[in-house]
C-alpha cells in the first residue's frame, strides 16, 4: 500500500471511532431526553393531578361536615369548589392513561367518586341527617376513604413507573457515557500504535537513509539500507541505490 493511503488510513480510522462513539452517545442521550419527557408528561402529570384530587376530597369532607353542622351555604360552596377541582383532576387522569392498568384505576376512581357524591348530593341541612354523626361515619366517611384509596392506588402506580423510568434514565446516561470512554481508551491505544508504526516504517527508514548518505559523503561507505515495506520509502531507497549504481558505472567508464 502506498504511504499516502497508509497515513490517511490511520486518521480515517481514528475519525471513524470518534464518529461512531459520538453517534451512539447522541442516540442514547436523545433517548434520555425522551425518557425525561415521558417522566414529566405521563407520570408527573398524573401524580400531580392525584395530589390535587386528594386535597379536593379533604375539602369536600370539610364541606359535608359543615352541612351536618347545619351550615348550608358555606358547606355547599366549599363542596362545589372542591368538586370542580376534583373533576378537573379526573379529567386530566382520563386523558393521560399511559400505563397498563391505569385505565381501570381511573374508571375505579370515577365510580367510587360517584358513589361518594351520592351521599352528599341530596340535602342534608334541615333533614334528619343534620347532626347525625353516625350517618357520617357509617356512610359518608367510608365512601370518602374508598375514593381516597382509589386515587392513592393510581398515584402509587405512577410513582412506581416514575421510579422505573428514573432507573432507566440512570442506565441510559451510563450507556451514553460508555461508548465515549471506550472511544477515548481505544483512541489513545490506537494513536500509540499509529505513532509507533509511523516511527518504525516511515521516520526510521528515512533516518537510516540520511545516515547512510552522510556516511557515503563523509567516509565513502556504500549506500546500504534495507526497507521492509513496498511503498514510496522503498521506491526512494531503490532510486538512491540506482543513482549510486549509475554513478559508479559512469565513473568506471
Amino acid at each position: 500500500m502506498r504511504l499516502k493511503y497508509k497515513i490517511i488510513s490511520g486518521f480515517v480510522i481514528l475519525a471513524v471511532m470518534l464518529i461512531i462513539a459520538g453517534i451512539i452517545s447522541i442516540i442514547e442521550l436523545t433517548r434520555v431526553g425522551k425518557s425525561v419527557q415521558v417522566l414529566l408528561d405521563q407520570n408527573y402529570k398524573s401524580i400531580n393531578a392525584a395530589n390535587t384530587m386528594l386535597e379536593a376530597l379533604e375539602r369536600e369532607d370539610g364541606g359535608v361536615l359543615l352541612l351536618i353542622l347545619g351550615n348550608k351555604d358555606e358547606g355547599r360552596t366549599t363542596i362545589h369548589e372542591a368538586d370542580s377541582i376534583f373533576l378537573k383532576g379526573l379529567h386530566i387522569l382520563q386523558n393521560n392513561v399511559t400505563l397498563p392498568g391505569e385505565g381501570d384505576l381511573v374508571t375505579g376512581i370515577s365510580y367510587s367518586y360517584s358513589e361518594y357524591k351520592n351521599t352528599w348530593i341530596n340535602p342534608v341541612v334541615g333533614t334528619e341527617l343534620e347532626g347525625d354523626l353516625k350517618w357520617y361515619y357509617d356512610n359518608q366517611h367510608k365512601s370518602l376513604l374508598q375514593v381516597k384509596q382509589a386515587v392513592r392506588n393510581l398515584m402509587f402506580l405512577n410513582q412506581s413507573a416514575m421510579y422505573k423510568t428514573g432507573t432507566d434514565l440512570k442506565q441510559r446516561s451510563e450507556k451514553a457515557i460508555m461508548p465515549g470512554i471506550v472511544a477515548i481508551v481505544a483512541g489513545v491505544i490506537f494513536s500509540l500504535i499509529f505513532s509507533y508504526f509511523i516511527h518504525y516504517y516511515v521516520i526510521k527508514p528515512i533516518l537510516r537513509m540520511m545516515k547512510s548518505l552522510n556516511d557515503y559523503n563523509n567516509y565513502n561507505k556504500p549506500f546500504m539500507v534495507e526497507i521492509e515495506t513496498k511503498d514510496e520509502i522503498y521506491d526512494l531507497a531503490q532510486a538512491i541505490k540506482l543513482i549510486f549504481i549509475k554513478k559508479s558505472t559512469d565513473s568506471k567508464l
Binding site: 460508555m178 481505544a186 490506537f190
Partner: protein
C-alpha cells in the same frame, strides 16, 4: 523483540474475534434487541485493531520463541479485554469488574457467571457469550494461524506455547497436521452436537449456544437454570456424551475416527479418565439414593451429569448439587481438581498429571522395599522422562498452593470457606460452578469485586497452565 510483529499477530486474533462479534450483531439486528449498538461498536473496534497492523506490518518470515510466547499470553489478555467492550456498553449488571470476570470466564472456557438473570440478556449478547467459549476453547491463537496461510516456522513456535507440554508429549505430529486435526475435530463435534440437541427438542439458537459451550468445555448456558431448564433426559444424555468426548485429547479422537492403531481405546490416560468418571458416578448415585435424595434413576441421571460436567470442566448443571450429602460434594470437588485429559479444551490439573503422580507414588513405595532398583515410569508402555515427572508433580503442588492462597484471600474478604475453596478450585480448573454461594445453579455476583479479580487471575493462570503467565510476569520483572 519486535513489537510490530506481536501487534500484527494479535491483530489477526482481533480480526477473528470481529467475525463472531459481527455474527452476534446480526443476531441482535435480526431480533431488533438492545445488543445491537454495543455489538456493532465492538465489531468496529475489533476490526480496526485487527486490520490496521496488516496495513503496515508485512508478514514475518520467522518469529522467536519469546515473541511467540508473548503473542500467546498477550492474545489471551487482550482478547479478554476486547470481550469486555460489548458488556460494558450494553450496561445492565455489567460494571467493568463484572464484565472482565464474564469475559475472562468466557474465553478461558470457565463458565462462571456474575449474571443473576441470564435470560434478560439480548440474544446477540447471549450468542457472543457462548462464542467466547468457542473461540477460547481451542485457543484463539490456533484459529488465527490456521486461517492464515502465510506462516511456516511461526506456527511451531506459537503452538509450543499454546498447548500443554503433556499434550505435545503424546501427540507427535507436525504442527500443520495438529492444526488440521484440531479444526476437524472441533468443528465436527460442534456440528454433531448442534444437530443432536436440535433433534432432541432444543431450539436452534439454544442448540448452537450450548454446543459452543459444551465442545469448548465452557458451561455458559442461555438459561438461568442451565440444563435443568430443559428438564429432558435426552438433552442431558447428548450433552453428557459430548462433554465426555470434549475432555479427551483431540488428536486421539481424530485417530479413533480415522481408524489409527493408537486410539482412545488403547490410551491409558483415557482409560483412567473413563473409569474414574464411572467410579465417581457409581459412588455419588449410591450416596444420593441411599440417603433418600431421589429415586435410583433420578440419582443416576443427576449424579452422572454433575460428575461428567465437573470432570470435563464444563460446568453445566441439571440439579443443585450444593444440597447433596457431604460425601458427594467432596467427590465433586475431587473431580473439580482432577479434570480431563491434556490435549483437550479442558483445564485443571489434568488426568495425565494425576496418573503420573499416582505412578510416581507407586514407584516410590516399591523403592522402599528395593532401594537399589531402577524403575522407570511408563504410560502406554512409553517411559516418561524424569524431568516430565518432576514437572507434573511440581505443577500439582503449585496448582493446589494457588487454589489455597486464593481461597484464603477470599475468606479474608468474608466469603465462607466452602464457597471460597470450591470457587477458587472451580475457576483455577476452568470448571465454573462451585458450592454454597457459587453453587451449580447460582453465580459469582455476590463475591466482592477484589475477589472477582483474584478469581479472574485464577482462570487465566489455569488456562495458560500457570507457567506461561508467571513467565510473562517474571520476564517483565527481569527487564
Amino acid at each position: 523483540m519486535r513489537p510490530h510483529i506481536i501487534i500484527r499477530y494479535i491483530g489477526l486474533i482481533f480480526l477473528f474475534n470481529s467475525l463472531f462479534l459481527f455474527t452476534s450483531f446480526l443476531i441482535s439486528f435480526y431480533n431488533n434487541d438492545s445488543g445491537m449498538f454495543p455489538l456493532l461498536y465492538s465489531t468496529i473496534i475489533a476490526f480496526i485493531f485487527g486490520i490496521f497492523p496488516l496495513i503496515y506490518v508485512p508478514a514475518a518470515k520467522n518469529i522467536t520463541s519469546k515473541e511467540g510466547f508473548l503473542i500467546v499470553v498477550l492474545s489471551w489478555l487482550l482478547t479478554c479485554l476486547l470481550g469486555v467492550i460489548p458488556y460494558v456498553i450494553w450496561g445492565g449488571g455489567f460494571s467493568f469488574t463484572n464484565a472482565w470476570f464474564e469475559s475472562v470466564s468466557g474465553f478461558t472456557t470457565t463458565g462462571a457467571s456474575i449474571l443473576t438473570n441470564i435470560e434478560i440478556l439480548p440474544k446477540g449478547l447471549l450468542f457472543w457469550r457462548s462464542a467466547t467459549h468457542w473461540i477460547g476453547g481451542i485457543g484463539i491463537i490456533v484459529f488465527a494461524l490456521v486461517i492464515l496461510p502465510n506462516i511456516g516456522h511461526i506456527r511451531t513456535v506459537l503452538v509450543k506455547n499454546e498447548f500443554s507440554p503433556l499434550a505435545q508429549h503424546n501427540f507427535i505430529q507436525n504442527t500443520k497436521q495438529v492444526f488440521r486435526v484440531l479444526i476437524i475435530v472441533y468443528l465436527g463435534l460442534t456440528l454433531l452436537e448442534t444437530i443432536a440437541l436440535w433433534i432432541a427438542g432444543m431450539g436452534l439458537f439454544d442448540a448452537v449456544c450450548h454446543s459452543f459451550a459444551t465442545i469448548a468445555t465452557g458451561g455458559f448456558s442461555t438459561k438461568n437454570l442451565s440444563i435443568a431448564h430443559f428438564n429432558s433426559p435426552a438433552i442431558d444424555i447428548i450433552i453428557m456424551f459430548f462433554m465426555f468426548l470434549s475432555g479427551i485429547h483431540f488428536g486421539l479422537l481424530f485417530y479413533t475416527v480415522i481408524g489409527n492403531r493408537y486410539n482412545i481405546f488403547k490410551s491409558g490416560v483415557v482409560k483412567f479418565y473413563f473409569f474414574s468418571i464411572v467410579a465417581g458416578i457409581l459412588f455419588v448415585t449410591l450416596n444420593l439414593y441411599l440417603n433418600n435424595y431421589y429415586g435410583f434413576f433420578k440419582s443416576l441421571q443427576y449424579a452422572s451429569f454433575q460428575i461428567v460436567t465437573l470432570a470435563t470442566t464444563t460446568g453445566f448443571a441439571n440439579a443443585d448439587s450444593s444440597a447433596w450429602p457431604s460425601f458427594s460434594i467432596m467427590l465433586l470437588i475431587f473431580f473439580t481438581l482432577q479434570c480431563a485429559c491434556a490435549g483437550s479444551t479442558a483445564g485443571g490439573i489434568k488426568i495425565d498429571r494425576v496418573l503420573i503422580l499416582l505412578k510416581a507414588i507407586k514407584i516410590q513405595i516399591k523403592k522402599f522395599h528395593h532401594p537399589n532398583a531402577v524403575i522407570s515410569l511408563k504410560i502406554d508402555n512409553k517411559t516418561v522422562n524424569p524431568e516430565a515427572v518432576n514437572n507434573a508433580i511440581l505443577y500439582i503442588v503449585l496448582y493446589i498452593f494457588i487454589v489455597f492462597i486464593s481461597a484464603l484471600l477470599l475468606t479474608a474478604m468474608g466469603v465462607d470457606s466452602l464457597s471460597a475453596f470450591s470457587g477458587s478450585a472451580a475457576t483455577m480448573g476452568n470448571v465454573g460452578p462451585g458450592f454454597n454461594m457459587v453453587y451449580s445453579l447460582g453465580n459469582y455476583n455476590a463475591i466482592p469485586d477484589a475477589g472477582k479479580w483474584i478469581l479472574s487471575a485464577n482462570m487465566l493462570l489455569g488456562r495458560l497452565e500457570i507457567y506461561a503467565l508467571l513467565s510473562l510476569i517474571m520476564y517483565h520483572y527481569r527487564r
